[in-house]
Amino acid sequence: MSDMLTAAFLSALISGGILAGMPLLFASLGETISERGGVLNIGLEGMMLMGGYTGFVVTLYSQSHWLGLLAGAGAGLITALLMVVFCVRLGLDQIVVGIAILIAAGGFTSVLQRAQFGTTYPRLDAMSAVEIPLFAKIPVIGPSLFAQPAIVYVGFALVAVLHWVLRSTNMGLNLRAAGEKPEALDAAGVSVTAVRSIAALSAGAFAGLGGAYMSIVGAGIFVPFMTHGAGFIGIVIAMLGRGRALWVVIGSLLFGMSVSLTTALQLVGITVPIDVVNMLPFVAVLVVLVIFARQAYLPAALGLPYKRGIR
C-alpha cells in the first residue's frame, strides 16, 4: 500500500470522525451536564430529532446555517422544558418521561416532515469550510482537522468553556452537588430546582444543536429518525466520560471514527455491507462497556427527584 493511500485513508478517517463525532460530542456534553446535575435524560435522542428538524427547516427558509443551528438548539431547549416541568419541578419518573419524549418527538418530527415536504427530501447547501492559516497546510491532519466548518471550532471552544465551568466555577460545584448530594446544596441555600432546571435545559440545547449539526452540516437533509441511536451513544459516552468534558471529546471522536472507518476502508478498496456500517458503533459501545464496566460512574443522586425533607 502506497503512502498516498495511507494519507488519504487517515485523512478520511479523521475528517469522517469529526463529521460523525460532532453530533455525538454535542449530545454527550449535554448529557454530561444533565447527569452531573442529577437528571438522567433518556429522551436525548428525541431532543436531537427536534433540533435536527427545526434546524433544517430554518436553514432551508432563511438560507443561514448559523440561524438554523441556533434554532436547533432552541428547539432542543424547548423540548427539555418538558423534562424541567415534569421531572425537576414535579419530581416525576425521569425514565418514563424520557421515553415519552423519545417516542413523541420521533413521531412528531416524522409527521411534520411528511406534512411539509411529502415524500421529497430537499437538500441544503454545504456549510462552507473555514481554513485555519498555516495549520491547514499540515499534511494528513491539516485538511481533515483545520479545514472544517466554523461550527466545529465553536464546538471545541464550547468543550473548553464547559471544562472550565465544570471544574473551576461555583456553577460547576453547585451542579455537582445537585447530582451527588442535593440536600447539601439545599442546606447551603442554593435552589436545587434552579440548578437542575438549568442543567436539563442546557442538555436540551446541546442535544438540539447536535441534531441540527447532523441535519444541516452532516447530511444536508432531514430524514425521520435520522439520529439512529446517536442520542443513546451520547448517553453512553457521558457515562464513560464520568463527567469530564475532555474525556467526552475523546470518546465522541473515537466513536465518530468507528462510524467513518467503513467509509475510509472503501477508499482503499474494501467494501463493507451497510448493515455492518450501521452496527459497528453499537458493537464498539458494547465492547467498551464490557471492558470498562467497572469504570462507568454515575452521580449518587442521578435520576432521583429532590424533595425537601424526604430522604
Binding site: D93, L102, V111, P224, G229
Partner: protein
C-alpha cells in the same frame, strides 16, 4: 369522536377490574372512578393534543379518528386484522411485564423480536417442507424463544454483575440485533427467487392454522394463554413472588437469601423469550417470510400500554386491543390523510407523558399509581407509603 370515547370507556372498565382487584384494601367507592379516570384521562388528553396538531396541519381530526375506528373496529376485515395484530403485541407485553415487575428495564424488545423473526423466516421454509407442520412449528417457536432470550444475556449479565444500566445496553443490543437480522436476510437466508432481499416464503396454506370461520391464526389463542400464564405466575407462584420482591426491594431480596444476579438474568431472559415467541407467531401466522429492513417497531409503544395497565397482565388485554385498533385503523387513516404511520407513535408518546401527569395527581391524593412501590422506591419517588 363519540365512538372513540365509548371504545375507551369499555377498555378502561376492564382495566379498572384488574386494578381494583389489586388494591381491594382501599375499597373506597371513589377509587373505582379514580382508576377509570387514570386510565382514560391520559388517552383522551393525548387524542386531544393530537387532534390539535391535525387541525394545525389542515387535516380534519374527526375524519381521522373516524377512519381509525371504522377501519380498525367496525370493518369486518379490519377487526380481524386488529385481532391478528394483538397476538404479537400481547406476547411482547407479557415479556415487558415480567421484566418491569422485577425492575428490569428491557428496552431492547425490538432487537430480540427481529433477530428471532429473521431466524424463524430463514429456517421456516426448509423445515416446514421437511417435517410435519406441527413439529416444525414447535421447533421454530423454541428457536425463537432461545434466540430472543439469548439476545438479552449481555445486558442481563452487565446489569447483574456490574450494575450497568440495562436501558442503555439492551438498546445497544437492539441496534446490533436489527442490523444483524438484516445481514442474515441479505446473506445466508436470502431467497434466490426474488429481486428484493428477503427470505424464502412459507406457502400461505402452510402457515399457522386459523381459528375456524375467521382469518385469525391460533397465535392469538397462544398469546392469550401466555398472558394468563404470566398473570398466574407473577401473582400466585413463588417464582413470581421472587421476581416481584426483586423489583420491589433488591435489598430485601438479598436479605431473604435470593440470588439477585441469578434472578436478574433469569427474569431478563424470560422477558426476551416472550419477544422471540412474539416474532415466531407473527412470522408463522401472518407473513411467512421476512423482508430486509422490515421492522414493525412494536416495542416502544408497548411501554405506554404496560404502564397504563399498571404492570397487570390481565389489564393489558383491553389496552393492547385499543392500541391494535389505533395501529391497524391508524395505518388506514394516516394514508387517507397523507401522513406517516408515525402519527400513532406520537399519540402513544403523548399518552405516556400525560400518564405521568395523572400519576402525579394520583400520588398527591395518595391513591397509588401505576408503578409498584419498589419501582417507586428504586426511582426515589417520595411516595406516601415510605
Amino acid at each position: 369522536m363519540a365512538t372513540v370515547v365509548t371504545d375507551v370507556v369499555s377498555t378502561s372498565r376492564a382495566v379498572v377490574r384488574g386494578a381494583s382487584a389489586a388494591k381491594a384494601g382501599t375499597s373506597a367507592r371513589w377509587a373505582w372512578l379514580w382508576s377509570l379516570g387514570q386510565a382514560i384521562g391520559p388517552i383522551l388528553l393525548a387524542l386531544l393534543v393530537s387532534a390539535a396538531l391535525l387541525l394545525a396541519l389542515g387535516k380534519n381530526p374527526l375524519t381521522f379518528y373516524r377512519d381509525i375506528v371504522s377501519q380498525g373496529l367496525f370493518n369486518k376485515g379490519g377487526i380481524q386484522d386488529t385481532a391478528i395484530r394483538m397476538a404479537p403485541l400481547l406476547l411482547m407485553a407479557s415479556g415487558l411485564i415480567v421484566a418491569f415487575r422485577a425492575n428490569i428495564w428491557n428496552i431492547g424488545g425490538d432487537g430480540q423480536f427481529l433477530l428471532a423473526a429473521a431466524l424463524v423466516a430463514g429456517a421456516g421454509p426448509p423445515l416446514i417442507g421437511a417435517l410435519p407442520n406441527a413439529l416444525a412449528f414447535v421447533i421454530l417457536c423454541v428457536t425463537a424463544v432461545v434466540v430472543g432470550g439469548g439476545w438479552t444475556v449481555v445486558p442481563a449479565y452487565l446489569k447483574a454483575r456490574y450494575g450497568l444500566n440495562e436501558i442503555i445496553t439492551s438498546l445497544m443490543m437492539t441496534f446490533v440485533g436489527v442490523n444483524f437480522a438484516n445481514l442474515l436476510i441479505k446473506g445466508p437466508f436470502r431467497s434466490t427467487t426474488t429481486q428484493v432481499p428477503q427470505t424464502d416464503v412459507i406457502p400461505f396454506k402452510e402457515l399457522l392454522p386459523r381459528i375456524p370461520g375467521t382469518r385469525i391464526h391460533v397465535g392469538l389463542v397462544l398469546a392469550l394463554i401466555a398472558v394468563f400464564a404470566v398473570h398466574y405466575v407473577m401473582t400466585r407462584t413463588a417464582f413470581g413472588l421472587k421476581l416481584r420482591v426483586l423489583g420491589a426491594n433488591p435489598r430485601a431480596a438479598a436479605h431473604a437469601g435470593l440470588s439477585i444476579p441469578r434472578l436478574t438474568i433469569v427474569g431478563f431472559m424470560l422477558s426476551g423469550a416472550f419477544m422471540g415467541l412474539a416474532a415466531a407467531v407473527e412470522v408463522l401466522g401472518v407473513w411467512g417470510y421476512v423482508r430486509a429492513d422490515w421492522n414493525p417497531n412494536f416495542g416502544l409503544p408497548l411501554f405506554a400500554l404496560v404502564f397504563l395497565a399498571r404492570l397487570n397482565a390481565l389489564a393489558v388485554i383491553p389496552l393492547v386491543g385499543f392500541y391494535a385498533v389505533i395501529s391497524m385503523g391508524g395505518h388506514f387513516a394516516a394514508r387517507q390523510a397523507a401522513l406517516p404511520d408515525d402519527f400513532m407513535l406520537m399519540i402513544v408518546g403523548l399518552i405516556l407523558l400525560f400518564m405521568t401527569l395523572t400519576e402525579y395527581l394520583a400520588g398527591r391524593s395518595e391513591r397509588g399509581g401505576y408503578l409498584s412501590a419498589g419501582l417507586k422506591k428504586a426511582l426515589g419517588k417520595g411516595g406516601g407509603d415510605e
